[in-house]
């Protein structure tokens, strides 16, 4: 179902800053939306307000046009999976899954059928008789998933459900959640601080920071067209190389960018944005993947020396000291270089980002 947040505000008693600062958000029916941000950014508070576990100070929440702002959690027809809780320890797997059904006074036979059906869906039908102590962490989290599904909620809420699992299990369950989303066609809202998880899962990513929404977009949009410096920096590992700079016009009607220790010419696509930036500071950024090692120095290159090499598997992350700055560069493991080797870095104009140093907004993607 379509979820709409309208001017949502939440403050906590012990803090001056709003945890969620008047946000507006529309999540379409059947979407898998991911709330992404560092800890304390308000993403979990937002989710908990949708669940009814926190009361907003103001603003409205509607699910499928139904205003649920003042409903108790139990009446919202949502389900939630938590980070640090998966199974009621005093019940076995079967009773855990049946638990939400008892709340709606379902008949015994129907409960039994539903529990078995849902358990099969998340591959725990062989564990139904087990107690908490007899299931692993991953299995316990599947129980939580089953318990969430069993009432056929209108919206699934997931609060970092995979963070407490080890890496391999996390990837495996991530895939299953994605499959579950496709099979059920229900709206999912997933909270995480792990941007890789957000990228792989989300149809739509909502990047949050300090209680504000920074950007809403597809995984590609937030990665390739970040609206501001925060999103650019937060999304993507290793993070984007960023430097402060100043822009000046050249004779041919183009623009040049002065960075500490070197200078670049800016491609034409920046010109519109730069027209109103005369004399102001900018932040220049480029992703490690977008920097190439070239044989010779030339236009938009800078020369330096490899300082550190980290192997990432098929690729290497190398750190190059150039113009007294340290650049992270991703290169193919085959063409990697040795520590201490001199090299030239080429910055492709098409992959550069520029942000207003004051507002931190992108000069390309946030003109409105």
């Amino acid at each position: 179902m379509k979820v709409v947040l309208q001017d949502l505000v939440k403050r906590f008693a012990n803090s001056d800053r709003a945890a969620v600062n008047k946000i507006n958000l529309v999540i379409e029916e059947g979407e898998l939306a991911v709330l992404l941000g560092p800890s304390g950014c308000g993403k979990t508070t937002t989710l908990r307000m949708i669940a009814g576990l926190e009361q907003p100070d103001s603003g409205r929440i509607t699910i499928a046009e139904r205003d649920i702002t003042d409903l108790a959690p139990k009446d919202r027809r949502v389900a939630m999976v938590f980070q640090n809780f998966s199974m009621y320890p005093t019940m076995n797997v079967y009773d855990n899954i049946a638990f939400p059904l008892h709340a709606v006074k379902m008949k015994r036979g129907e409960i039994d059928r539903t529990v078995r059906e849902v358990a099969a869906l998340v591959n725990i039908d062989h564990l139904l008789g087990r107690s908490v102590r007899q299931v692993s962490g991953g299995e316990a989290q599947r129980v939580a998933l089953a318990r969430a599904m069993v009432r056929r909620p209108e919206v699934f809420l997931m609060d970092e459900p995979l963070s407490n699992l080890d890496a391999k299990l996390r990837v495996q369950l991530r895939t299953e959640i994605k499959r579950l989303h496709q099979d059920t066609g229900t709206t999912f809202i997933f909270v995480t601080h792990d941007q890789e998880e957000a990228m792989t899962l989300g149809d739509k990513i909502i990047v949050m920071n300090n209680g504000d929404i920074q950007q809403v977009g597809s995984p590609h949009e937030v990665f390739f067209a970040p609206k501001n410096a925060f999103v650019a920096n937060f999304v993507g590992t290793p993070s984007m190389n960023m430097l402060p700079g100043a822009v000046s016009g050249d004779n041919g009607g183009g623009y040049r960018l002065q960075l500490p220790g070197f200078e670049l010419s800016l491609p034409a696509r920046f010109h519109d944005g730069l027209a109103r930036m005369a004399g102001k500071g900018v932040i220049w950024g480029i992703r490690p993947e977008a920097i190439r090692l070239v044989a010779e120095a030339g236009e938009n290159t800078v020369s330096g020396e490899v300082e550190l090499v980290e192997a990432l598997g098929s690729r290497d992350l190398i750190f190059v000291r150039a113009a007294e700055q340290l650049f992270g560069v991703i290169v193919d493991a085959q063409e990697s270089v040795a520590v201490g080797a001199p090299c030239h870095l080429h910055f492709a104009g098409g992959q550069m980002h520029l942000f207003d140093a004051e507002s931190e907004r992108s000069l390309l993607n946030d003109c409105g």
């Binding site: 576990l53 959690p73 009432r151």
Partner: protein
């Protein structure tokens, strides 16, 4: 684990065993007096070999109405612990779960109640009960409700502190999950939290029972003929001229044995209660 030199270990054993003897010897030696016939209560040197008898217990229990005092002690202890749990468990839950402005100050205030000497409350209680009786005709002195209310001064803060610790150990998501799944907060508490926190409630109840059971001062001031507790009657076996030692130790045993049994059952949780949860 730390490796301990043998000599050090032997020394530790010797000292601790001597300590244990100093602890257990008076308790045992006194306790066997309860089983001695009257003629050898005060024999010197002490008689160690004798035919044990239960006549002291019979005397204490029936002739001196010990069963009444036992009943009184049970009513007061169980009653006051039940009330303290009833009032304290919800409060403890709120302190463990809800963020609100005054929570920290209130918890500190609760600790500070542990510092108040019983005389400071016992004295006005006596006077208040007296005025209530004279002025409004409400008799609370020498009644079970009167004592049960008074005992809340030391039981209630302890229940709140101990239970707060037990609730805080559980993830809040446990009842939140149940709330999203169709239950009210109270329903979630009843069906999900209470079954998990049950051992903590039992431990809290036991420790508070011990405190109420052993209490002497407030009972001395506020109880009377109708509500005398076991600790109060123990003193009555000291008559001006002589002490009925066998009977006295019979009463002592009746007071002591249940508590020692409860302590054995509780030993892991003991510190939490005794330190009032200040250590966490």
């Amino acid at each position: 684990m730390m490796r301990v030199p043998t000599s050090e270990r032997v020394l530790a054993y010797v000292i601790l065993i001597v300590m244990a003897i100093l602890v257990i010897a008076p308790v045992l030696a006194g306790s066997i007096t309860a089983f001695k016939p009257q003629i050898i209560w005060v024999s010197s040197p002490p008689t160690w070999i004798f035919e044990p008898t239960l006549e002291n217990f019979e005397f204490v229990f029936f002739t001196r109405k010990g069963w009444v005092y036992l009943r009184n002690s049970l009513i007061i202890s169980v009653g006051s612990v039940a009330i303290a749990l009833l009032l304290g468990v919800p409060a403890a839950y709120a302190f463990a779960r809800f963020r609100f402005r005054s929570s920290k100050a209130l918890m500190q205030w609760l600790i500070s109640l542990r510092m108040i000497p019983p005389i400071v409350v016992g004295l006005p209680f006596y006077a208040m009960f007296l005025y209530l009786e004279r002025g409004l005709g409400i008799g609370l002195r020498d009644t079970f409700p009167g004592l049960i209310i008074t005992y809340q001064t030391f039981l209630l803060p302890l229940v709140i502190w101990m239970m707060r610790g037990y609730f805080a150990e559980l993830p809040a998501a446990m009842e939140e999950s149940a709330m999203v799944e169709g239950y009210t907060r109270l329903g979630a508490l009843w069906r999900v939290v209470l079954p998990v926190v049950w051992p903590g409630i039992v431990a809290t109840a036991i420790l508070n029972f011990i405190f109420a059971w052993n209490e002497f001062f407030l009972a001395l001031i506020l109880a009377g003929n109708r509500t005398s507790t076991l600790p109060m009657t123990a003193g009555t076996y000291i008559v001006r001229t002589r002490v009925e030692w066998g009977n006295l130790f019979a009463v002592n045993l009746i007071i002591m044995v249940p508590v020692i049994l409860l302590t054995i059952a509780l030993r892991r949780q003991l510190v939490k209660g005794l330190t009032f949860g200040i250590l966490e």
